[in-house]
Amino acid sequence: MNFIHAAFLASGLAIAIPWLLHLTKKRKYLRVRLGSLQFLQPLVRDRHRMSRVEQWPLLMARCLAILLLALIFSRPFFHQTEPSSPLQGEVLILLDASGSITPQQADELRAQAAKTISSLPPAAKPVIAEVADRVTILPSLDAYHPIPGAAGSPSTAVDWVVDRAAANPDVTGAVHWFTDLQKSQLPQSPGRLWPSGLPVEIHTAAAPGDRNASISQIDLLTPFGGDSWEVEARVQVSGMPGDQPISLTLTTTDGKSVQSSTPAAGGTAVFKWKGEASKGLLSGDVAITGSSDPWPADDHRPFAFKTTQPIKVLLVDGDPTESRFTSETYFLQKALHASSAGKALSPFRAEVSASLPAPGQAVDVIAVCNPPGLSSSNCRLLSGYLEQGTGLIICLGNRAKATGWTSSDAEAVFPPGIQIATTPALDTLRHLDLSHPALAGMTMDTFSSLRMLPLQRRFSWPESSDWKNVMEFSDGSPLLSISANRRVAIFTHQVNREGADLPLDPAFVPLMQNVFSYLAGADHHKSQTAVLETRTPTLEETRPPGFYPGEAASVLISADNEESDISTVTDANFRKALGLPAIDAPAPEAMEINTLKDSPHERAGEFWPWLVAILFLLLAVESALAARRNPNPVSSPAHAN
């Protein structure tokens, strides 16, 4: 029997208290004088001074109650597991099957495991299991094969051992763990409590090399490349650095091959090439050229990126004579090409033109900036583009003339009855319809500065059900109006620095990008490729790293990055990180098997509740004994008979 709080046993010394009380207790005696004691003496034992303790049963009951209390607080328990030697019952053989185990190491560990199993006593029952992302029991050692690129999880192995030992009391032998003591997969601190009294022996196989270069990450820098791509690959080197640069080869699925390199200590390499992405998916493989380290699984990494066609925008400069750097088209182009993503380019490809495009060009959005007016032919041309799905935005400015908007075909591209003020009035933005798709994703905070900006109000037209004012001035005049039937937007303010210096407002770029995305019908540009799922090799996913396209979902399997770190720890640190018992340490202090089912504050084998029940019984007995001692009042002789 052991105790969780053995110090409480000292409180058992308190049994001296009832002893002292019983010894010093001055009992009240009624003095009675009788003619002779000859009848009483045989009935009553002579009391010696030394045995002045009255009521031995009561004293014993009280002492026992105190001892029981001390025992209860010390929380005694019985060991449920026997010391490790001699080995009996199940012996767990854990084999590391993660990607850091090379085939040579696997052979060596397999041989060690076989030797260990053969040296077990006949009563031992070896259970062979391999450990990667999870633990799987193997029928034999021959079934043990590390998975290239698979992640290892020593914590998972510990959990498995703990659960198995808790569920199966037959696990009384040792645990033999065959691993490479890799550092990268160890947890920061031990997880669950290792079963008490269950020793673990670590068997290692030295790594066949001291250096491992791996490709840890591949990023597409130009998701909207269209036909011009940039891919960045990150190379990490674990162990001893080499002295030669690391050559890399990128090979696309359609056979394109691009070379690049990193320094010997690793780094990033960028691959650039031109080509089409098949079905909106750019896929291929980056490999270390001429790699000779013992871990080939991480020497190449497949990639597959969903691509999106850029939005082609044609910015038609309504005043070509204006300086290029002051015209509306300049600022619009800048706004559209601005990118908030890290290295990704803007989805827009904006070109400036001095005139309207000829019919049939592949354009997603045409922006006509500050035209004096639109003739019928212009309108017919633009209507043609609208018919083929192109979006149109007309940015009105100071060059707009009142008579330039009265053509018979004007209704197709701009609201009827445009009225142009001779002198623009200063006004501010008052109304925003954030529910309109053209402003999707934008908030009032985005427009906080724009709402304070004094803008030039020049244009107005009668309300019409065909046109929705998404942004309005304080008098209801439109700042941005969008057609309800076609992808046409009218912006009634100059988009250069004249007047309100609108391009410098923080809302300008997101506003223009949102509106142009809406006009381009951005949903049409989304990739139609299947769902792309990324995985690492596991005990279940045994396919080697690569890209596996499918109808419903494509799978990208690449080696686990942490397994590429071949740095190791010592046996002692390995044990310490996982909470395993030390090599030569005696059986750890009595901590019972702890599982997810057990309360962390309870130990198996505790029997204090039984002691409490006994204590209650004892207190009942003590009460009964004490009640017997309650003296009755003595009656007078007249009533004695």
């Binding site: 005696y29 009675v32 009788l34 009848f39 004695a640």
Partner: protein
Amino acid sequence: MAAAHSFEDPHDFLAIEDLELASRGIVEGIWQGLRRSPFRGSGVEFESHRDYRFGDDPRHLDTSVYARTRRLCVKDYRAETNLPLYMMLDCSGSMDVSNGSSEKWAYAARCAAALGRLAINAQDAAGLSLLGNEVVDHRSPRTGRTHFQNLLGMLGQAKPSGGGSLASAIREVSGFCRRKGVVVVFSDFFDHPAETVSALTRLAAARHDVIAFQVLDPYELELPGDGDLEIEDAETGKILRLSAADVRAAHADAVVKWRDDFAARCRAVGIQHFSVTTNQPIAGSLVEFLQGRTVQ
């Protein structure tokens, strides 16, 4: 004053220090309880004639009967009732037991005083002996009020104390009891019963009418309560601590058995045994005692 009290109430007589008054009251109480004198009257009383036999005293020949019938007859007289009363009181320490309002010695003294008064009133002689380890004091039986006063004085001054062998004291005092009489021994008879009965038997063999008048304290028959008791031996002073609950029943059984055994021993040798406890009315006890004698 004493006559005004009911004889059912023993405590009043015990409370009366003056034995003269107490005894008078008790006797009056006794008279109330008895229909005739417990003691027969003094004097010779003719009972019947019988034929003369050789050896009879010629002085007892009835000449008138001879004159009438020419038969020689002698007068036969009733047995003499003027028997002296020898009262022997145990004044050893065991009689000095007083629990509550009952006192063994006082009770026995008052009984003796009352019996003595009865005897004196009946013109009988009464004597008193105080017995301890030996005869402490002795007054031979006499008649007369003055003698009775002396007896009361003896009782009043006596204090029970010390140990004693009642048997040896009885044997010693029996030498003073030359005349046949009634011997009443007042004691608790805790002393060796066999020896005591033997001594009493010796008295009975001397043609005395011996009565063992046993006086006990109620606690000597049954321990009080169920609590803790500190029992003091009145004779030796020895202390015994016990729990009444533990020994109560066994003690009562032992005492009853001892008393019954003593009574049986007495009866076996023709000694009367009468036992009272001090919580019983004195007068009632004596009435019962005397009625028992009358029935005999």
